[in-house]
Symmetry: C2
Subunit: 399 residues, 2 copies
């Protein structure tokens, strides 16, 4: 299958592109390389060094014999979007190409507006280009479980049957997103659902949980193929960030009570879910939602797991946990339960969180710990204010 | 109360500003005057001639003795937004300042992107400015009943109690908007609800039905104070458009079966609802939704009402109804029921649709019928295509 991976230079886009290429698909990558620019803005870097996109695809060609065609450009440039779709002629487009950090979107007005315009307009441009050029293209869109928030009922996969005053309808599951970033994904979901309805497009919205892990079978083949590993308070997601904190002897920072429970999955499963989705496209005009996660954990439980595993690694000493005031506006204790049956029904075999995975993450961070700027770990973006300071003293640590 | 009316040069914004001024409030108007530019773009004009904003407020001063301060500028210019809020120091901001035509948003990619960016970013800028300058300001936001679509259950006011698998929660009512314009209002609603939650803002989202009518007690005081009266397929809303069609002897164009049922209200009630809302602000941090309409009608029934009344007006002859293919993607027959209790509870006394109102609308159009460009009546924007042609041969008809 010809698959275009948008955002194919990022944390998940890159290993997904490699995985799809390894499985025999013809893969192209579209990226404006802005994720690297965010690092410059924040004064941080991936714990594991990553190569430039051009070098990545060249090494992949050497290692695997497979070609991945890179297209450098911006989805907000609609002529570029049209040109790439015309040139590559994809059967599926996997869309990771959005600003994906909640704290980044909450820095100030400029970052909120940037996140919503960038994400919404990029996706609109894509919908129009697909409708105009080839409505049969399957749009595989990365959403987030964070679109749902934390309702007091079980979260269904995109739609819920509601019986009200004696009448029944299947309706979009109500959304209660918790940042301007999460809101941008909710906006996207509504726009995509509508485009499928009016133009007969086919799309799968993958409401993904928080991903952890850094190695995949393909990225492990050569140092040039490594993917990002973020630990900073803006782009570092919870488990990866804890592993780096453990590696550098920084207490694991739990926000508030730590009862925040989130759907999660191993990076291996992200790759498998995307491929299963591509291989099983929806019908013409169908908009469907898959909840893409394998297990749920509270932040407190994750911290305890990482502390236990880290404390057992020689040379690290005892890993401590520190509760700090929650910079976000969110429930610190709440009911959380979400359904995920559609991806398992397509054949997903989950990799559940193991101590080995945690140890491997910590050990990877230990190997590169001279690259960690500990100033970037403590959260500086506060949901309650309209303007946060994010400059990191010390700046990015090079090789 | 000091009230700033955003979009105060438009069809509803202008009479709302006059009404609030007449009731003794200190009123300011913010408008970028873009609605007048859309007319130029489409090659149409309001059936009733309207004066420039500066003349409007000067005449209002002469007629009423009251000052309305005009601020000409764009909500997408955040420095302008901040400056106006600092200068005027409003207690309430009534926000009509959005691109409000569904067909306009469906013309092509450029118009879809413009509508969503213009509406969403304008509202984001406003939320930030309010949070920074004075979170106590009450944001009265114009939403639309079209945000809900046409679900098979009764539409509640913004939130619905859902019981699911033995658990219950009060959740945002699911949204199924039917154009990129309606989607922009859904995006706004989600953004506003979030801003209230994190910053303690107070906002009322007025999900308004389709408004009909053109005269209000204040606009009737002087010809300079008249508000817009649109009939074209892009900006003309259903009842007003039918009245103009009847006036010029053009068959009433019903889209498809005409079973589309919509919540509606008289322009008098719009003014009353906005004032009642301003006078009864929500609590700090509260985001509430009022369904702002008084009755529901199917398009077919409206056409029959207008045809009957029009056929009885001397000199018009028999008013015919013509069914044309629906240019929109929507259900042509469906269940429709929506709750509206909150505005009546505040004291709203509805003006229900009367034959007198219809006759008055038709007679107003008859008086100005030389200004109608009949070429602009038939819909040219089709939801099923990504690019529609909207230029009108003949162009705008002047005085």
């Amino acid at each position: 299958m010809r698959i275009l991976v948008l955002g194919g230079d990022g944390y998940l886009g890159w290993p997904t592109a490699l995985h799809l290429s390894q499985q025999g698909h013809d893969v192209g990558i579209v990226d404006n390389l802005i994720r690297r620019h965010y690092d410059e803005e924040m004064g941080v870097s991936s714990v594991v060094p990553i190569r430039q996109l051009q070098r990545r695809v060249a090494t992949w060609k050497e290692v695997s014999g497979n070609t991945i065609e890179p297209f450098v450009g911006d989805l907000n440039d609609h002529q570029f979007v049209t040109r790439v779709l015309q040139q590559f002629e994809p059967e599926a487009v996997v869309h990771f190409a959005e600003q994906r950090s909640a704290p980044y979107s909450m820095i100030d007005r400029e970052h909120a507006v940037y996140t919503q315009v960038n994400n919404v307009v990029g996706t609109l441009n894509l919908l129009y280009a697909i409708a105009e050029l080839n409505p049969a293209i399957h749009l595989v869109k990365l959403g987030t479980m964070g679109e749902y928030g934390a309702p007091n009922i079980e979260i269904e996969e995109g739609f819920i049957e509601v019986t009200h005053k004696g009448r029944t309808d299947l309706l979009p599951f109500p959304k209660q997103p918790a940042s301007f970033y999460h809101l941008s994904k909710v906006h996207d979901s509504h726009n995509i659902m509508f485009a499928c309805r009016i133009w007969g497009l086919r799309s799968t919205d993958l409401n993904q949980g928080i991903v952890y892990g850094q190695h995949t079978p393909e990225t492990a083949l050569h140092a040039d193929l490594e993917t990002r590993y973020d630990y900073d308070a803006v782009f570092g997601t919870v488990l990866n960030r804890f592993a780096v904190q453990a590696a550098v002897g920084y207490p694991l920072t739990v926000y508030g009570k730590g009862g925040q429970t989130r759907a999660m999955l191993d990076i291996h499963d992200t790759l498998a879910c995307v491929e299963l989705t591509c291989n099983n496209p929806p019908a013409e005009g169908e908009y469907r939602v898959f909840n893409q996660f394998t297990e749920s954990h509270s932040v407190r439980d994750l911290a305890e797991r990482v502390a236990k595993v880290g404390s057992g690694i020689a040379g690290l000493g005892e890993v401590r946990i520190e509760s700090i005031p929650d910079p976000r506006v969110e429930k610190e204790e709440h009911y959380y339960s979400a359904v995920t049956t559609k991806l398992p029904a397509l054949g997903l075999q989950p990799h559940l969180l193991s101590d080995e995975t945690i140890a491997h993450l910590i050990e990877t961070a230990v190997k590169h710990r001279h690259r960690v700027n500990v100033e970037a770990i403590r959260p500086t973006v506060n949901w309650r204010t309209t303007k946060s300071e994010v400059s990191v003293s010390g700046g990015a640590v090079g090789e």
